[in-house]
């Protein structure tokens, strides 16, 4: 499957190490329909290809947004792209967050760090049809106040879309008036109806384990808690073997899984 060239329309620096690229196909080519939670393989010329979630609005398939944290070779080359630059794109791949299953229910979203990127696409979809869902809450943990992503959007969703938002940081700076500590502490204080709630979690694996445990202990059913799992990935179509997670191919069966399907694999180290 060949990458398709996409043009960088906009680049925004989100934090010291994280940036968003807004991509479009050249000419009058149709947009890329996607579901929140899906990802694309982004190819940086000569450097390599990496899986990156789509962080933009699913109602705008003509503008494909990717929010990426620089952690190594390929993400660094992607970060150097500017408006007018070209990336190769294959996708979208994977399943998405369980939007249908969430209708009429409380939606509890837990994000850690760059894990907010695929959840941002979800928040666009949820807030576009706000009336379909009961309570919507986002609990989001970042390392420091400088690492908090999408501040303006979070504020907008809080004030005009009735989304309850709680942000916490691991380490505060002097100007930080918000909370300090782990997301699970915030989660504990959140009020929602466990019997009728859906949990959606994306972030570092340890955080996801604790967050899922917290939701379970509050009484949320294991089939109503969803996690987006990340592994090395080369092909995204179930042929390269890199993303195997127990019996699951993250690229094809995921990346979003109900907790009950990944519980054992998450518990055992290095599986």
């Amino acid at each position: 499957m060949l990458p398709v060239p996409y043009r960088v329309q906009r680049r925004r620096q989100e934090s010291h190490d994280t940036f968003t690229l807004e991509l479009s196909r050249s000419g009058s080519a149709p947009g890329l329909e996607f579901a929140p939670g899906q990802f694309n393989m982004l190819y940086a010329f000569g450097a390599g290809e990496v899986p990156i979630s789509i962080s933009g609005d699913p109602a705008r398939p003509d503008v494909i947004a990717h929010t990426t944290r620089v952690v190594g070779g390929v993400t660094r080359v992607l970060s150097r792209l500017r408006r007018g630059g070209t990336v190769g794109l294959r996708g979208p791949f994977g399943n998405g967050w369980p939007l249908e299953q969430s209708r009429g229910r409380d939606v509890v979203i837990v994000a850690g760090g760059i894990g907010l990127a695929p959840l941002r696409a979800l928040l666009y979809a949820l807030t576009a049809n706000r009336g379909r869902f009961a309570r919507i809450a986002l609990v989001y943990g970042a390392r420091t106040p400088e690492d908090v992503l999408f501040g303006a959007e979070l504020e907008r969703w809080r004030t005009s879309a009735d989304v309850e938002i709680a942000v916490t940081v691991d380490r505060a700076t002097e100007s930080w008036a918000g909370r300090v500590g782990v997301v699970t502490a915030l989660l504990r204080r959140l009020s929602f109806d466990p019997a009728n709630a859906v949990g959606m979690i994306c972030g570092p694996e340890v955080m996801m384990r604790y967050a899922a445990a917290e939701l379970l202990s509050r009484g949320v059913a294991p089939d109503s808690i969803f996690l987006s799992i990340e592994r090395n990935m080369k092909c995204a179509v179930g042929h390269c073997g890199h993303c195997l997670f127990g019996p699951l191919f993250i690229c094809r069966d995921g990346p979003v899984f109900p907790y009950e399907r990944v519980e054992t694999t998450l518990r055992v180290a290095e599986l």
């Binding site: 499957m1 060949l2 990458p3 398709v4 060239p5 043009r7 050249s26 190819y43 010329f45 000569g46 450097a47 390599g48 290809e49 944290r69 952690v71 190594g72 007018g84 630059g85 070209t86 190769g88 990340e230 592994r231 090395n232 080369k234 092909c235 179509v237 179930g238 042929h239 390269c240 073997g241 890199h242 195997l244 127990g246 019996p247 191919f249 094809r252 054992t264 055992v268 180290a269 290095e270 599986l271």
Partner: protein, 376 residues
């Protein structure tokens, strides 16, 4: 198999077979000797086969030895499997060319002349069927595999002797090939006549078989063929108890057995390279100095490397024990969940080619022992 339709072809009358295949446009690939091992490569005629040779195999050991006869197929499987034919170890995926701000991607041409596998064993045909499911069995079909696999002709050989590391009987994949071939041969050496029982399983197989001088099989020929396969069946060098194997592996996600094997395993990746079903790949991206032209290649990879699970902050499977566990659990357990069969066909290559002789059948035995000693 309808025994009444079987024909017998003498050693001399089999001579035209590779040529008949070549005349029909096939590249004929079969066993041949290179650097003291029997590998699969292009063959011109029967003379290229390892005539009169056999292989001695054991954990961490492989040696060719002369036979006392002139058998064409008197050995078992070597370090190569057919997977390299359909799933190349190194292949170009695309080229990228910069034109100003634009980048153009082009795929290499994929045509490939059809191949004839000459002398394919039952275990290896089971492995081909498994890789078919991996690369052709889901919504995303691998075009490289599909092109090379398309139209492949198969001349199977039923094994009449088993090697020291063979256990196809345990995996129910051999020693008799039951599927996936056009022609199948059973080599018969007794009764003073070197001959082959020929079975055809397709129209194109029949068309070719008809061109070989043959006579109807006698009841002695049939009995000798059955006895040969039976001899292989009862002389398997290894045995693997597959009863409840999937759950056995899953139950032992945490086990001291993995630490013990990790003390010996060198993470050298040999087992995954020689395995006819292992399919993992990585990619390599390069660009020329001008940064105008780039290409991406796909290479075989192995779950035994540290980098295999590298992502951002490090690797998931850093310990050798976790990598061995991953490999064997995939082969014997999760493969069932993913592809509806075992990922191991019992060919024994991973045992033979492991430099320290780690034996998949023995490791399963250790898991069973560990379980037995813990049971009340």
């Amino acid at each position: 198999m309808d025994e009444k339709t079987l024909r017998v072809v003498t050693r001399a009358a089999l001579e035209p077979l590779p040529g008949l295949l070549r005349d029909r446009g096939f590249t004929v690939v079969g066993p041949t000797i290179r650097e003291a091992a029997i590998v699969y490569d292009e063959i011109e005629s029967l003379a290229d086969l390892p005539i009169g040779w056999t292989d001695e195999q054991g954990p961490g050991g492989y040696r060719l030895r002369r036979r006392s006869d002139e058998a064409l197929f008197g050995y078992n499987v070597g370090p190569h499997s057919w997977k390299g034919r359909f799933h190349p170890s190194d292949v170009l995926l695309f080229q990228a060319q910069r034109n100003g701000r634009d980048v153009e991607f082009t795929a290499p041409p994929t045509e490939s002349p059809p191949v004839a596998l000459f002398g394919a064993r039952a275990c290896d045909l089971a492995a081909v069927a498994i890789q078919d499911r991996v690369f052709l069995g889901s919504a995303s079909i691998d075009p490289i595999y599909a092109t090379r696999r398309r139209g492949a002709f198969v001349v199977a050989v039923h094994c009449t002797q088993a090697g020291g590391t063979c256990f196809c009987e345990s995996m129910r994949t051999g020693p008799r090939a039951t599927r996936g071939f056009d022609l199948a041969l059973t080599e018969l050496l007794g009764a003073g006549e070197h001959r082959f029982l020929v079975e055809n399983a397709s129209e194109r197989g029949a068309e070719i078989a008809d061109r070989l001088a043959s006579r109807p099989a006698s009841s002695e020929d049939l009995a000798a063929a059955r006895a040969g396969v039976e001899r292989a069946r009862t002389s398997m060098g290894r045995k693997l108890d597959t009863d409840g194997i999937r759950d056995l592996l899953y139950r032992h996600a945490e086990s001291e057995v993995w630490d013990a094997v990790a003390h010996r395993c060198l993470s050298c990746t040999n087992c995954t390279m020689v395995c006819p079903t292992c399919f993992c790949t990585t990619v390599e991206d390069v660009s020329d100095l001008s940064r105008e032209h780039a290409e991406r290649r796909r290479l075989w990879d192995s779950c035994f490397t540290l980098g295999f699970t590298h992502l951002g902050s490090g690797s998931v499977r850093t310990s050798t024990s976790s990598r061995y566990r991953h490999w064997i659990t995939h082969k014997l357990a999760s493969w069932h969940d993913q592809f509806g069969s075992s990922g191991c066909v019992g060919c024994g290559r991973c045992i033979t080619w492991c430099p320290v002789g780690i034996d998949i059948t023995e490791e399963v035995g250790r898991l069973r022992e560990a379980e037995g000693s813990r049971a009340p």
